[in-house]
């Protein structure tokens, strides 16, 4: 009897399980359709404990997690789907997307490169993949994906536009012009013409760039892009009055949050800005105009176009004078353009003097001084910032200044404060872990380093310090694992393209 039951049980599993899973899958799918993602995910999880070979179910669960914003869980389920043999292009793309969304750049990049090397015949997947890589600053790999997409769909506008845009951002202006000038190019597309004009300007052919944009303005006077890009080109040429005229036309179009800025000024005019402030050149007060230029400058600054921001701040100053916010914004942009430059330091000192109650100016000044290797002055400024308004960011910089000065225990205290004020700041967690690793507090160091990785899986430095701690404690195998992760993650992060200048150009943490 016993033996009969066993046979029956085995039979039931083999024959009934798919049917049972299928029924449950419908239940789970119904829950998902009803937008009860949490219940649906729990349902799939439960189901998969009994049907672990169902790659399609893992995939559906992965999509659910993705939609719930749980990227790491999504990536894990897509991995299981692939392991179970469900590995079409959609799953692989979603896996790569989930890797990037969960900051697992090494895995994302490696999978993306693998997929590109297999040259799949889907222009759409290659385009999406290219966009994904592009968003995460892997411009060179994105270029490969867009090239494939463009070859697969030679008449498609989007692959070619993105291909040109990527060339442009890599400062391969001639290539961008070549791609945009190929046959079937849609010259009625205003964005594309703006990109083409900016590419010509990139080659210093401002005449050709201007001609194209003037044509666009004549044909599309309500389109905002050309005014802005042409104005930036004029600013590059030192033709501020012309730029002002164009920006005035742009302003009259009304709020334009969607205006596409392609051209980025290269000329560093921090010295000119500082001179104008020093000389206190004439101001024609208009808060509206000042706010307009200020707003534009802030937007381009947020996109790391620091030289453009400085030019726009110079225009803002004509209407506002030497205000604290202008001095501070100028200091910030100049600090990014030339961290060692005297102008950034001077502007930030002026900002701090203009309104000593503004913590941000002291903070930026402290960072500038830290960047120039002057820990003592940096400490003064950062203490001022902290005394006005303590934030995790300020405490983090304060800790760095203390560490550079060789004040280990005070640095640890500052990093602890940073972690307390901003527990989700991966860098604060890392710095505390790093500093503790130099003392005997290695257990606590590990916790903070692990936390940094949990918050930001691409934090390769944390793997390195963990690897070093393990080695010191004779945990050779674990150390090797961490050091391998360090190398892999770092390799991926280093393949990202540089954005902007100054400390942004050093890597991913401005």
């Amino acid at each position: 009897m016993q033996s009969f039951i066993r046979i029956c049980w085995v039979w039931t599993l083999i024959v009934c399980a798919p049917a049972h899973a299928s029924v449950s899958a419908q239940t789970c799918q119904a829950a998902a359709k009803g937008n009860d993602h949490t219940a649906a995910a729990a349902c799939f999880e439960e189901l998969l404990t009994r049907a672990s070979n169902r790659g399609d179910l893992y995939y559906q669960l992965g999509l659910l997690y993705r939609d719930m914003g749980k990227s790491r869980e999504a990536a894990a389920r897509f991995e299981l789907a692939i392991d179970a043999g469900f590995r079409n292009l959609g799953v692989r793309f979603n896996l790569i997307s989930a890797y990037f969304a969960s900051h697992q750049s090494a895995a994302g990049l490696e999978n993306a490169q693998q997929l590109i090397s297999e040259a799949p015949k889907s222009a759409e997947i290659m385009l999406r993949l290219g966009r994904l890589l592009f968003q995460h600053l892997y411009y060179r790999d994105a270029l490969n994906a867009f090239q494939s997409a463009s070859a697969l769909a030679p008449d498609g506008f989007e692959p070619r536009f993105y291909l040109a845009l990527t060339h442009f951002l890599l400062k391969q202006y001639t290539e961008a012009i070549r791609v945009l000038s190929q046959r079937h190019f849609d010259f009625t597309n205003v964005e594309a013409v703006n990109l083409l004009a900016a590419s010509y300007a990139g080659t210093r052919d401002f005449a050709k760039g201007s001609e194209l944009l003037q044509t666009v303005i004549a044909g599309n006077p309500h389109s905002p892009h050309a005014y802005l890009n042409l104005a930036l080109m004029r600013l590059e040429e030192g033709r501020a009055e012309d730029a002002r005229g164009l920006l005035d036309q742009f302003r009259r179009l009304g709020p334009q949050r969607e205006a596409k800025v392609f051209y980025a000024v290269e000329r560093n005019s921090c010295a000119e800005l500082a001179a104008e402030i020093r000389e206190d050149t004439k101001v024609q007060r208009s808060q509206d105009m000042a706010n307009f230029y200020w707003d534009l400058a802030s937007q381009v600054q947020d996109r790391y176009h620091f030289a453009s921001a400085v030019e726009l701040l110079r225009l803002a100053r004509r209407y506002e004078g030497n205000s604290e916010r202008l001095l501070r914004a100028g200091g910030r942009s100049c600090l990014n353009l030339a961290p060692q430059g005297a102008e950034a330091m001077w502007l930030l000192m002026q900002a701090a003097e203009a309104d000593p109650s503004q913590p941000e100016a002291w903070y930026l000044l402290g960072r500038a001084q830290l960047r120039q290797g002057d820990s003592e002055k940096a400490l003064d400024a950062l203490h001022r910032a902290m005394s006005i308004h303590a934030t995790g960011e300020y405490a983090l910089s304060l800790g760095k200044a203390l560490a550079n000065k060789g004040s280990g225990s005070e640095a640890i205290a500052a990093f602890e404060q940073a972690v307390k004020l901003a527990p989700s700041n991966a860098e604060a967690q890392f710095e505390l872990g790093r500093a503790l690793s130099q003392s005997s507090e290695t257990d606590e160091a590990r916790l903070h380093l692990m936390k940094a990785i949990e918050l930001e899986p691409d934090f390769y430095e944390a793997y390195y310090v963990l690897g070093r701690i393990c080695l010191r404690h004779g945990e050779r195998e674990q150390s090797e694992k961490y050091l391998a992760l360090f190398e892999r993650t770092k390799r991926a992060v280093m393949q990202q393209s540089i954005v902007g200048a100054g400390y942004v150009s050093e890597g991913r943490r401005p």
């Binding site: 030339a338 430059g341 002057d374 150390s479």
Partner: protein
């Protein structure tokens, strides 16, 4: 028990003493030499890299002579018309030097980068190896004040762009082997053009090294008589990926009796080749903790040196790097592990804006603790036009060991010789006037060298000249341990190191208040030891390897 209180009070007294005032020997020394290296604009990376200097006794008169390498210009290289030549200056013993380049049969006119010294054929006379852009050269010392070009017979004429070079007997056969760093592929006919790799803080500058093709360093095994074979691949050294190799130094960091090799790479992780003892090496820099700085970031390594700064019996490491970065001090924790202690040593802030090259651990004030000296100078003349925190010409650095793991930037108070700002490169140390105080020679691009005379601190000292009989004649790799005044200090005899330079073979110990060396032990490269007790201080002591089976 008697030694400790003496040291204690003595140390206090020394600590309270006035700072040493270093002066330059200057033109009265008879050294009239300007290091040529391209044009002042330094538009190409090759114009910024030269500058080796060697201090050695070529004629065995007991006085250190000076070898200064010289560069070239792009134009001269293209037209094969370089007139700038390396120079050898003989030490006359009275504070003056005589240019003996011609009579010695020297005067290489290639674009020389660096120099290392070794008695490659164990005949008792030191030979000269120079690294070039183009074929390197080995000059064999004839023993009569002249040299002959032995490159072809020796098999050491490595081509490409060589930089640092250093000798050591890695296999213990009594012959000095040679490691040569290679920097990158560079072609005068196809100079790197302006691109994204040619920007520094958004300022257009010379291109590289990033973006240019790195090269493989080479290990040459000395088969005897100064004849070498390339064992780069056979030894495992060739497994390391090509890199922008610059400074190189040998040192037995794990104290297993075999010399290991550290190579500083510009802009890439450094290499530490562990000598496995069977003719093979394993690259261990990452697990050892010296490939990168504390936070896992690579640095632009230039000059390198091993030395025990905290007198714990283990060789620590100092590496010079680019500006806007600190110059990294790695503490040897034992068991093959190092820790970056730059922050706790107080060396971050004073080194941050410097671009440093030659570096040596050296006890300048004879207090029994190794200080650090560095040659500094930027690669981009453009930095001066942009009012940055760094400058093109920079003063040399003197970091005084405070004996508590920390260093003090002592250059500003150290007299006029440390105030002269130049584009410093190579740096070598040695006792030029045999007064027991270590002097410093720094080569400067487009300028006269800086020859710094150490006035000597109040501390006692001893200078040891070792001669191998079974071991290599220069005793390179010998480890000397000195017990005096309650301190135990170690040094190793080195060939090469710093930045493309070579320092005095003699090992120098500052002894502070101790007026006697209680015990002095030499561990020869063969592994045999020799101990002397109750040795008089303030003397230059010659020690010959004692062995019944002499050469």
């Amino acid at each position: 028990m008697r030694g400790w209180p003496v040291l204690f009070y003595g140390a206090l007294a020394l600590g309270a003493a006035s700072p040493l005032l270093f002066r330059e020997w200057g033109k009265s020394s008879g050294i009239d030499f300007k290091l040529t290296s391209g044009t002042p604009g330094k538009h190409y990376i090759i114009e910024s890299i030269t500058g080796g200097v060697a201090l050695f006794d070529y004629n065995n008169d007991g006085l250190l002579d000076i070898y200064l390498v010289n560069g070239s210009t792009i134009e001269a290289e293209r037209s094969n018309t370089n007139t700038a030549e390396d120079k050898l200056f003989r030490n006359n013993g009275d504070g003056t030097f005589t240019d003996v380049t011609r009579q010695a049969g020297l005067g290489d006119r290639r674009w020389t980068m660096g120099v290392a010294i070794a008695d490659v054929n164990n005949d008792g006379f030191d030979d000269i190896y120079i690294t070039n852009y183009g074929a390197n050269r080995l000059y064999l010392n004839n023993g009569d004040g002249t040299f002959r070009d032995f490159t072809e017979e020796s098999g050491t004429g490595i081509t490409g762009w060589s930089s640092g070079a250093a000798f050591a007997d890695y296999d213990g056969d009594g012959n000095l082997d040679l490691y040569v760093s290679q920097y990158l592929d560079f072609d005068f006919q196809h100079l790197p053009a302006d691109s994204l790799i040619c920007r520094y803080l958004d300022i257009p500058v010379q291109c590289g090294p990033r973006g240019l093709t790195p090269a493989h360093g080479r290990l040459l095994h000395n088969r005897g008589g100064g004849r070498f074979e390339d064992v780069t691949v056979k030894s495992g050294i060739g497994k390391a990926p090509p890199a922008y190799g610059l400074g190189v130094v040998w040192g037995d960091y794990d104290d297993d009796g075999r010399p290991d090799l550290f190579v500083g790479n510009d802009s890439l992780p450094a290499y530490l080749f562990h000598n496995d003892g069977n003719g093979m090496f394993t690259e261990v820099a990452l697990p050892a903790g010296v490939a990168l700085r504390e936070d896992g970031r690579e640095q632009a390594d230039m000059g390198v040196d091993f030395g025990d700064f905290d007198n714990d019996g283990k060789l620590d490491l100092i590496v010079t790097t680019f500006s806007e970065d600190y110059k990294t001090l790695f503490h040897n924790d034992g068991a093959g592990h190092f820790t970056d202690v730059t922050r706790s040593a107080g060396l971050v802030q004073p080194t941050w804006n410097l671009l440093s090259w030659g570096v040596q651990f050296v006890d300048l004030n004879n207090d029994g603790y190794l200080d650090i000296v560095m040659a500094n100078g930027h690669v981009y003349p453009e930095v001066d036009r942009h009012k940055l925190a760094t400058t093109y010409r920079q003063r040399p650095s003197y970091f005084l060991n405070l004996k508590n793991g920390r260093f003090k930037d002592a250059g500003a108070d150290a007299g006029p010789a440390f105030q002269r700002a130049e584009a410093g490169r190579g740096l070598a140390i040695g006792d030029l006037n045999n007064d027991g105080a270590m002097d410093i020679v720094i080569s400067n691009l487009d300028a006269q060298p800086t020859i710094i005379r150490n006035p000597g601190g109040p501390g006692h000292w001893i200078l040891l000249k070792l001669t191998g009989t079974v071991s290599n004649r220069d005793a390179v790799g010998a480890r000397v341990s000195v017990k005096a005044g309650g301190l135990t200090q170690i040094r190793e005899v080195k060939s090469g190191g710093s930045y493309q330079s070579h320092s005095d073979f003699r090992v120098h110990f500052g002894l502070g208040a101790a007026d006697i060396v209680d015990e002095l032990t030499v561990r020869w490269p063969t592994g045999k030891t020799q101990t002397l007790k109750h040795v008089k201080t303030n003397q230059i002591l010659k020690i010959e390897e004692v062995n019944s089976a002499s050469r």
